[in-house]
């Protein structure tokens, strides 16, 4: 990982309270490993908000990186007021990556809310190697979507209120399309209730499933042990100290659904 001062190249609203920001990242992209990785942004030189904010990488080029973020509190609100040419300090790339489906597997990507950020990145990564992919993006309502509902091209939107795409959460749509796929592999990122539902679905149907989880982070680099999540089962990564907890910023944020336990 490195610690780079990056210039904001573009920053635009995508949907209600959701923004996309692209910044120069020539150093960062050199050591980027793949979709699923994240960065930590220090938006403020003062100590008023001491901790960096973790953000999934949503897109990447030779020299730039993008994120998609939702205004949640003070720092994301400050990020949304950044202007082109402003500087941010970015630490990254951090964490592990989604593992690619094997040749006979079909990837089903599931994103909820801003959980779509790493999902879109993975979608583009898979497309570039010509994988056949189905994507389901869920939101509460139309205003929170910025993509088109396009089932013919494998892009399904869902809304809780039915205002665009399929009515309901991502689960009914997943339930429906799963039968059209012989060897599915699930990848999901989004709010915890959605991750739990996908985890449950994967386990019940014995479908390989990878989940990208969130956690309140301190350092983002494995030093503070602040970002832990409970493990399920006996497997554990080499570089975490505990059997009970996994260190999300280092061992994650992407996990085999069998590996982790939500409360």
């Amino acid at each position: 990982m490195i610690d780079q001062v990056c210039k904001v190249l573009s920053i635009n609203p995508l949907a209600k309270d959701i923004w996309e920001m692209t910044f120069s990242a020539d150093q960062l992209v050199k050591i980027y490993k793949g979709a699923g990785q994240f960065i930590e942004i220090l938006g403020d030189k003062t100590w008023d908000h001491p901790l960096r904010r973790p953000m999934s990488i949503s897109g990447i080029t030779d020299s730039t990186m993008s994120i998609i973020f939702k205004v949640m509190g003070q720092m994301t609100s400050r990020f949304s007021s950044l202007k082109v040419n402003d500087e941010i300090n970015v630490l990254g790339p951090l964490g592990n990556t989604f593992s690619h489906p094997s040749e006979n597997e079909t990837a089903i990507l599931i994103g909820g809310g801003v959980g779509l950020a790493p999902i879109m990145n993975f979608l583009n990564e898979l497309k570039s190697i010509n994988n056949h992919v189905l994507t389901i993006i869920g939101a509460r309502t139309k205003d929170e979507h910025h993509l088109d509902h396009d089932p013919c091209n494998g892009m399904y939107l869902t809304t809780d209120d039915g205002s665009i795409g399929d009515h309901g959460t991502v689960m009914p749509t997943l339930d429906r399309i799963i039968n059209t796929v012989k060897y599915p592999k699930l990848y999901a990122c989004g709010p915890e209730p959605m991750l739990k539902a996908v985890q449950q679905f994967g386990l019940t149907h014995d479908i390989p499933t990878e989940l990208s989880v969130e956690s309140y982070m301190g350092c983002g680099v494995g030093l503070c042990q602040g970002c832990v999540l409970k493990r399920e089962g006996p497997d554990f990564a080499e570089d975490s100290y505990q059997k009970k907890y996994t260190v999300v910023c280092k061992d994650g944020p992407v996990y085999n659904a069998k590996e982790i336990h939500f409360d």
Binding site: I2, P50, S215, Y216, G226, D239, Q242, Y245
Partner: protein, 306 residues
């Protein structure tokens, strides 16, 4: 050119900026972006007799100019530490100070003895006494002068290596605790550990920390750490390692003027993994522009008005 060597007990360090316990792992799993060979010393996370999985999340939360943590002293335990970590120190030139924690006198002593028993690359020990004494109804070891003196002298008898007692700020009179450490034979004291704090989410009404209370660190507590160091400096003659909210070269200068011989950087490392080196670089610039010959000359040299 400034001379940055400082001495604690009989040990000489090349640079007075150390990294603090619990903020740099065991010193071996460090991020690839930083060069640890330049760091004054690495204090390991607290090592206990048995492995500890630590507290359930949420373990950390941000506060104004600070953060609260309640990691729960998660660590692999002394045996695994000896097995897995100690051998790796052979590759590292940075001095390693092992931080030890316990819940009874015996536990502290046993961890220390186990470490002493193996020929190791550890230069010394820092003793975390901000821990409830199970035999004394859960009162922190660090709050009772007699307990601290007793613990110090027990450990002193078991090692000739550098012995630093790490003081808790959650007491009425930190200087008298330092005095107990000195009487018990400590080579130095370090101050301060985190300050008891709490944080609540006003919307969910939930405690932001699983264990309700956690330890406040970061620039918010710098004035508390400075006051502690100055109070201790007035009372004891052993060296002091200053800790608490250090995030710049100027902060190091403040701590040294207040009485510290060396300092430790904790929370700042979470913003910049390389913080300790950056802070040392700032200190170098300060010394150059202010024409400081010997960094140790600053120790205790604050000019008081009264």
């Amino acid at each position: 050119m400034t001379d940055f060597h400082i001495k604690i007990g009989s040990v000489e360090f090349m640079n007075p900026v150390f990294v603090a316990s619990g903020t740099f792992g065991y010193g071996v799993e460090i991020p690839d972006l930083l060069d640890i060979s330049k760091i004054g010393a690495i204090v390991t996370k607290s090592i206990s007799l048995m492995p500890r999985e630590g507290n359930p999340p949420p373990r950390i939360v941000e506060t104004s100019s600070g953060m609260i943590n309640s990691i729960g002293l998660a660590n692999i335990g002394v045996e695994k530490y000896i097995e897995e970590m100690l051998p790796q120190y052979a590759q590292i030139s940075t001095p390693i100070i092992a931080n030890i924690v316990g819940w009874t006198f015996d536990e502290y002593l046993e961890v220390l003895r186990k470490l002493e028993a193996v020929s190791s690359n550890i230069i010394g020990y820092e003793i975390n006494i901000s821990c409830p004494n199970v035999k004394k109804g859960g009162m922190e070891f660090g709050t009772d002068p007699e307990t601290v003196e007793k613990l110090t002298s027990l450990l002193r008898k078991a090692t000739n290596r550098l012995l630093i007692m790490k003081l808790s700020p959650n007491v009425a009179d930190i200087a008298s605790i330092a005095l107990s450490a000195e009487r018990g034979g400590a080579d130095a004291v370090s101050a301060i550990n985190t300050v008891v704090g709490m944080s609540i989410d006003p919307y969910s009404h939930q405690s932001n920390i699983f264990t309700t209370f956690g330890g406040l660190s970061g620039p918010a507590i710098k004035p508390i750490g400075l006051a502690a160091v100055q109070k201790v400096y007035r009372k004891v003659s052993i060296p002091i390692v200053g800790i608490g909210g250090i995030s710049s070269g100027n902060d190091v200068v403040e701590y040294m003027l207040a009485g510290a011989s060396a300092v430790q950087v904790g929370t700042a490392t979470f913003r910049h993994p390389d913080a300790a080196n950056q802070i040392f670089d700032q200190l170098k610039t300060y010394c150059q522009t202010q024409n400081i010959q010997q960094i140790s000359d600053l120790t205790g040299k604050v000019k008081l008005h009264s």
